[in-house]
Symmetry: C2
Subunit: 116 residues, 2 copies
């Protein structure tokens, strides 16, 4: 016969985490924070918005400076952060670099929130 542990009822008002409930560890939290840091800048959010609306593989760096009113090195900097956060894909053709949103990347981030 399989026995299950008897759980004592929680009677006091002190804070308690339900038995077995997964709470985020420090290392995992640091990893997840990387993606949210990438999203924690208005310009990067706008970059993602532009790339989401554009045809995949059709957006180059020089097309992104004007909409954001940022210098080319700054845009390159932000794109690098989004790239390293795993949100973008970069396709190089000669000296040109074309960026696109990785399909499902933002859904994965949404999934992280659901699984907190």
């Amino acid at each position: 016969m399989k026995l299950l542990p008897v759980l004592e009822p929680v009677t006091d008002e002190s804070c308690c985490v339900p038995a077995g409930a997964p709470v985020l560890g420090a290392d995992e939290a640091r990893q997840q924070a990387v993606v949210f840091k990438a999203l924690a800048d208005p310009n990067r959010l706008r970059l993602l918005s532009i790339l989401k609306a554009a045809s995949p593989g059709a957006t180059c760096v020089c097309d992104l400076t004007e909409p954001l009113d940022l210098s080319q090195p700054t845009v390159s900097h932000h794109l690098k952060i989004l790239l390293e956060a795993g949100l973008l894909h970069r396709e190089k053709r000669g000296t040109w670099a074309y960026f696109s949103l990785i399909p499902g990347a933002l859904d994965n981030v949404a999934g992280v929130l659901a699984d907190l």
Copy 2:
């Protein structure tokens, strides 16, 4: 007779945003960035994880210092940021303050990502 504007076909390879595609404005991006800034810290992610797992209205500040190994003022600081980002609810009872995750708050953030 109602006339519609004729759209020129896009023939060059320069980046273009499909007609009518919504792209995030600077002001809206700043507002959305506030929430992601709130999520862009490992300790705040862990706070949310703890609060999500706990019974609503059962978690006080002093219960959060030990799991995160942070001082009470630091925890209070982080809770304030999450509160102002619209993710938490605070219920004061005397000198005690009990925090809980606003139901649907993280789903709303996930919705922001979907609507980028």
